[in-house]
Symmetry: C2
Subunit: 357 residues, 2 copies
DNA sequence: CTGAAAGCGCTTACAG
DNA sequence: CTGAAAGCGCTTACAG
């Protein structure tokens, strides 16, 4: 294996000079730099990340923690984050919680991320008190996306969930619907603040229309196609007065709802209207009305918010305490750098006026 | 930051003993081990991965290269691989090619993965000759999943694409269809051997039924919902004699096709039958008939095939050359360890007999 | 602009 | 079973 010593020998300089030349540091003459680069090229030299990181005191690695990489929102976020990190010279260490507690314990405990990453991106994950303490102990910079928990000192990049839900619900109200069901996430799911805020928006919109929310129309299930499917099937199996419209807290649940309606012989939107939140890839094809959220943009912005203070390739230690410096986050302003990105109502074929009968 | 020296001091032993005790090596007395573990616990000590890897000569990291993390198949594979790797103590370094050449160059060049990972998992990626040379130069163990290219010395975990396509097509033939269209992947896509094999299965099934494949019914597009949508729209816009059934090379394309058919006012399956390959999460909800492939199982098996010779947590250097040793792969048997997993026809509501007219 | 030397925090023969 | 010491391959003051 060729090392920095080999390059130094071939170029006729010291290893210190090789190190500087290869990293583009200023204190190297043009001629020397050329010789070093030529030697490195000739030897097909690649720096050892472990040696470099050990000596340099930084890992150039960011942990990305997501609940379920297979779901549209998280996959899209990770794709954007991966691109941004790699462009800035950072490695991406992926942790997929997947609802498994053993993974949670491995990731969210003091000894696992410690010394392993320079920063953390936490996507839609609700933290238990002990886990928050762990993160505080780690004392690493980080950013949350669609935060399930506020982490002190970490900015959060998100949409306004309450407003998005209100927009979706109001769209149904404007069409004339009065009995509007809501499919919400399981409170045990990882980011239940998302569910809570979307429910709040739903209820606010109803109340603004002088409708008292009917608890029997508000179902908790999984944030998945299958969850939406089962919840809707249950709603329909109850008998009584079914809703004329369904607001699902995400597009995947909305798709599941559409499937259940079809199975029950009901037409969308003639018999029941359906709207979600996301603008999933499939939504356009299925004609699903939705409130679009910019998942990729959330990832891009989060990476930028995180990396800017880190200084791109030149990591400076996270700033803490009394004097936060020019880029520092003030303890009194724990969400400095937080960003809320806009959503947009997209009306397609799955929503229409209720039947006249 | 607490180091191994701190633990050694508190436990009253040398750092060598701490190192051995913490890693569970046998040559430590029970009493000493207890003291060391207690000291480590008390100090909240976590080993520095970089120092450990530099000294130990292994990275305990596996690179996972996928074309598009946002697509169902790759997301599902990555989820399974991530679980298996983390359980075995390996980090997962994610590379999402995303059709971007700059990423390709960063990943698939000699200096990027070198010294950074112990092994590579390459998912459905077709390699150019120069990239194959690069991998040979890196001389790392690896495994391909749904291989786009045979990498010498790397086993491949996959389904039989030709057989899966034949099964799907035969299902349509058995229902009485004669004009069956095929939606295939773009030849520039990353894993075009997949497309080629699925086309072959389609054509073989037709020929077995004494039907000459009609090139005008065989469309190349992207392996996505949108690709299937546009290809189907084009098929329908041509006029003439439309197909009575569509075999899409993956479920996402099939979903796009269903959308285009709906937009054209055609019913599935009364007017046109549709079948895909995958068994995507959404397929059950949409009632899409398909040939199911075990994406998660492909990932699990690939991780096992890769990690078994690596010896789990105790990495031994990859075996090369004349004497491959007990776990080695013989140069004369480049795909030793390769696995083909079974697929399964799943008939739902999107396929039926052609119209009688 | 350049180099000698210390140091990053571990692991691993080697010796006992 | 345990320890002293060398070494992994870099980076970084420090000195010039």
């Amino acid at each position: 294996m060729t090392t920095i010593d080999d390059v130094a020998r071939v170029a006729g300089v010291s290893t210190a000079t090789v190190s500087r030349a290869l990293r583009g540091l200023p204190a190297v003459s043009a001629a020397t730099r050329r010789r070093v680069l030529a030697a490195a090229e000739q030897l097909q030299y690649a720096v050892s990340p472990n040696a470099s990181r050990l000596a340099g005191g930084r890992t150039a690695t960011v942990a990305v923690v997501v609940p379920w990489i297979t779901r549209w929102f998280f996959g899209t976020v990770v794709e954007a984050v991966e691109d941004a990190l790699h462009q800035s010279g950072y490695d991406l260490l992926l942790y997929n919680l997947g609802g498994r507690n053993r993974i949670r314990q491995r990731v969210l405990r003091p000894t696992s991320l410690h010394k392993r990453v320079d920063a953390i991106i936490l996507v839609a994950t609700h933290l238990r008190p002990a886990e928050l303490t762990t993160l505080a102990t780690l004392d690493l910079p980080g950013v949350t996306i669609s935060s399930g928990s506020e982490v002190p000192g970490w900015p959060c990049v998100r949409i306004d969930d309450t407003a998005a839900a209100r927009t979706a619900t109001r769209h149904l109200l404007d069409l004339g619907h009065r009995r509007i069901a809501h499919l919400s996430g399981d409170p045990d799911e990882l980011a239940f603040t998302t569910h809570r805020n979307r429910r709040r928006g739903y209820q606010e919109a109803l109340r603004e229309a002088a409708i008292v929310p009917d608890p029997s129309l508000d179902l908790e299930t999984q944030f998945t196609i299958d969850g939406g499917n089962r919840a809707t099937a249950e709603l329909l199996s109850r008998g009584g007065d079914p809703p004329t419209a369904i607001f699902a807290a995400c597009d995947e649940m909305a798709m599941g709802a559409m499937g259940a309606l079809r199975d029950a012989g009901l037409r969308v939107p003639q018999d029941v209207s359906v709207i979600g939140i996301d603008d999933h890839d499939l939504s356009a094809v299925l004609g699903l009305s939705t409130v679009a959220q910019p998942a990729a943009e959330l990832g891009r912005v989060a990476a930028r918010v995180l990396l800017d203070p880190l200084g791109g390739r030149e990591l400076t230690p996270p700033v803490r305490g009394v004097d936060p410096g020019p880029h520092g986050r003030r303890p009194s302003d724990p969400t400095s750098g937080s960003v809320i990105l806009p959503t947009r109502l997209v009306v397609r074929d799955s929503t229409g006026p209720p039947r006249a009968d």
